[in-house]
């Protein structure tokens, strides 16, 4: 009995979230001016339904620790429903556009700030006769380049060694073959 009531409550939650998702998606994609959504109207049915169903469940049977499991299930389903709802909104072109614009704004404002901060820091370090981050990075890059060259030399040596081994194997095989051909004659 309690299970079916809980299921009803889940169904109501799901329906409510599906409707609200559609409403949010419409809101995101609408280009014309529309009245702002009534946040109270959005939440009220959810809260009321939840409270009523909870009260009904509690009134029907003695409260055992199972009620905690039911609460956990309710929360899991609610989070999952929210995740799906947000996923639908985030999967729209409108959301991608807003995200792109926000990032652009961040780069437009943050870029010059970062450059100015880097320049002033470099000047300060130079005045203190200390190496700047850029100089340390340059040294590290040179070491990486050096390592790359050593790897190249190692590769070339490896190739030469393999070639020498091949030649020595060929040379070692030649007298045997020569001997064998003498015998066959």
């Amino acid at each position: 009995m309690a299970d079916s009531t809980t299921q009803q409550m889940f169904d109501l939650w799901k329906r409510q979230l599906d409707e609200s998702t559609q409403a949010w998606a419409r809101l995101m994609t609408e280009t014309s001016a529309s009245p702002p959504p009534d946040a109270g109207a959005f939440w009220r049915p959810i809260v009321d339904q939840g409270l009523q169903t909870w009260a009904r469940v509690a009134a029907q049977a003695p409260m055992t620790p199972d009620v905690m499991t039911q609460w956990k299930q309710l929360m899991d389903q609610a989070i999952e429903a929210w995740s799906r709802a947000l996923g639908q909104v985030m999967g729209t072109d409108a959301f991608a556009q807003v995200l792109g614009r926000t990032l652009d704004q961040f780069l437009v404002t943050g870029g010059p700030l970062k450059k100015a901060a880097d320049q002033s820091m470099e000047a300060a370090l130079q005045a203190l006769n200390l190496p700047s981050r850029g100089q340390v990075t340059d040294v590290a890059k040179q070491i990486i380049g050096l390592e790359e060259r050593v790897d190249g030399v190692e590769d070339a040596l490896g190739a030469i060694m393999r070639r020498l081994n091949d030649i020595s194997r060929t040379l070692a095989g030649q007298p045997e073959r020569a001997g064998a051909s003498e015998e066959s004659r």
Partner: protein, 375 residues
């Protein structure tokens, strides 16, 4: 009305507690005692977590560093080595650290593979700094991977090797196999690696050229900071932290759960930055232009055509993978020229292929089971 309802609940609760006289009352009391005991343990564990945060011991499978190149390391793990062909595991570059593959004893992919007798090599790309900003995907394919493959062959003494790419490691490995068909790779496993980037889901949409200017992004930031990478992944699943918190509270009484949680949580919050040029090429060529799938890449002067891959192929997709949806992973099956190829789709998400109880029962045995007779 709210107060009235609450009073009803309290009344019903007390009736239930005292009302049953045929033995059910004792059972009822026991159930509540258990629940209260769990609560007590939850609070005790919470206090312990807050006052002395645990440092999980990850990556415990014995290993040896056999080669290093700049930040990258090649590790060889100890095993019985009953299979002749060594396995080179190529994980993602940037984003996260590879100890997720060897998280804890008895919940480690690497431990599973070494117990199965594989001569297991892990390529750890490393944590890159601003000095590595010039590193590109092309460098990884033409300068790092060939060397790692030859070191695997050299140290194992084998004439062939198998490659296993996970996540971003799979398309990088696939590009390597396509550009260097002469490298003796006998088997290739793609685990949750995106191939057809036109089907890559939310990241594909957000990184679309129309909305995301990767050149301005890299030119401004240089290195793509770890916090930025973190923000991108958090945005992909905004309810994940709430869900994680709820599950933590629910299982906080369970010490075994807590040990696994601490290790996984440490990994999940340790993000790694991308080298700038790597990110530029990764987004522009792979996400935006889908050049790998279209066969339009040229690395080191060599054409990168997936049709050149002819080794045995095993592709594993995850049904609820929102980072690499199964359809973009499966796409590799249609473009390779391998005669022997198999695709499986497992329940769960991107991470549940390589970590967690589900992975050890559903995924790892399938991978080792496919590789074993071919190694």
């Amino acid at each position: 009305m709210g107060q009235e309802r609450f009073a009803d609940i309290v009344e019903r609760f007390t009736q239930g507690y005292y009302g049953d006289r045929d033995g059910g009352g004792a059972e009822f009391t026991r159930q509540w005692q258990e629940e209260l005991d769990r609560q007590r343990r939850r609070f005790a564990n919470l206090a312990r977590m807050v006052t002395s945060p645990p440092e999980p011991k990850t990556g415990q499978t014995p290993r040896q560093e056999v080669y290093r190149k700049n930040k990258s390391r090649l590790y060889r793990y100890e095993s019985r080595r009953t299979h002749a062909i060594p396995l080179l595991f190529v994980p993602n570059l940037g984003i996260s650290r590879p100890y997720i593959f060897d998280l804890l004893p008895r919940s480690s992919f690497i431990e599973h593979m070494t117990n199965a007798g594989f001569d297991f090599y892990l390529l750890d790309w490393g944590v890159f700094g601003p000095e590595d900003n010039d590193l590109t995907v092309e460098d990884c394919v033409t300068r790092i991977l060939p060397r790692m493959a030859s070191k695997v062959l050299e140290t194992s003494g084998a004439s062939q090797l198998s490659m296993l790419g996970y996540c971003m490691g799979a398309p990088i490995s696939a590009a390597f196999l396509a550009a260097y068909p002469e490298v003796p790779v006998k088997n290739f496993v793609n685990m949750a690696g995106p191939i057809d980037f036109s089907k890559v889901g939310l990241f594909g949409l957000w990184l679309d050229k129309k909305y995301f200017d990767v050149h301005r992004f890299v030119d401004t930031l240089g290195t793509v900071p770890a916090d930025m990478v973190k923000a991108g992944f958090k945005l992909l699943r905004p309810t994940m932290d709430i869900s994680t918190g709820l599950n933590l509270w629910w299982n906080l009484w369970n010490d075994a759960y807590l040990e696994g949680f601490n290790a996984l949580n440490k990994w999940a919050n340790e993000y790694v930055a991308f080298p700038g040029e790597f990110f530029r090429q990764w987004v522009a060529d792979f996400y935006q232009d889908n050049k790998l799938f279209r066969g339009e890449l040229r690395f080191g002067g060599r054409p990168v055509r997936l049709g050149a891959i002819s080794c045995s192929l095993f592709v594993v997709g995850a049904q609820e993978d929102y980072i690499a949806p199964p359809e973009c992973v499966r796409a590799l099956m249609d473009v390779v020229s391998s005669r022997e190829k198999e695709y499986i789709e497992l329940p769960g998400g991107h991470i549940s292929l390589i970590a967690g109880r589900g992975a050890s029962t559903h995924c790892w045995p399938r991978v080792s089971g496919w590789l074993a007779p071919r190694s």
